[in-house]
Symmetry: C2
Subunit: 116 residues, 2 copies
DNA sequence: TCTTTCTGCTACTGAAAACGTAGCAATGAG
DNA sequence: CTCATTGCTACGTTTTCAGTAGCAGAAAGA
């Protein structure tokens, strides 16, 4: 064995361009990976989504990438897979999403300011 | 052809996996690009940063990518380049950053919950 | 003027990540 | 057994990123 390539960035672990592993840096690294924000967004509902439902919700993202991202989110305790139900956010992940929801409002006024 | 590839996603423009161009989707697409969140973060100070200073702040990100991301952020009215000063957030970009700052607190408790 | 030192980049090559499609093993229903 | 659905893995192609080199313009000094 040995170790497969480490994938999910965790607090305390150095990330690209920052050797400190400061939590906020690690979070920035994680959220900056393609599809991570989108997955969080699509998991905002109350009911879990199956792998394939989630894949479809993300516009047909390839299963390999989706699986990799879900692994990241599971390793970092943000999402989880519930047997017989599907993927859902953990309580911690739910709190993160709550912090991100205000972006919707900002995005709206952003759109308006750009269309002028 | 003629058109260079368009780069910055703007509200109203379809993005990967979502044809609607809904502002929040576009924002998710933009923030999900590598280095975008980090750049916002590094521009949180009051004084503008030069291209090179920003590059260093981002841990030596390659100039080609940095330039591409700055172009994205400028096209979308989030950052701007001020002559004789450097790169800084626009008022709109500053508001976006304000929405993101609470992530710091979340990241701290996230880190704690993981190290146990 | 001729360097030197900043500036904001562009160009290029190679590596890594993502895409897109196919398909497999496991489970459950009929 | 067949068929559908589940969560994926494999793999070849395309896109993106990384890493290094270097250029042109402005300013400053000798």
């Amino acid at each position: 064995m040995s170790e497969k390539k480490r994938k999910a960035p965790k607090p305390g672990t150095p990330v690209r361009g920052s050797s400190t592993g400061r939590p906020v840096m690690v979070l920035i690294e994680l959220l900056g990976r393609r599809w991570v924000l989108r997955i969080l967004w699509e998991l905002r509902g109350e009911t879990p989504l199956t792998f394939r439902a989630l894949q479809e919700a993300c516009g047909g993202v390839s299963p390999s990438v989706l699986n990799a991202r879900l692994a990241d989110l599971r390793e970092t305790g943000i999402a989880e897979h519930r047997d017989e139900e599907g993927y859902a956010l953990t309580p911690m992940g739910r709190e993160l999403l709550d912090k991100l929801m205000p972006l919707t409002g900002w995005a709206e006024s952003w759109a308006q300011s750009l269309e002028k």
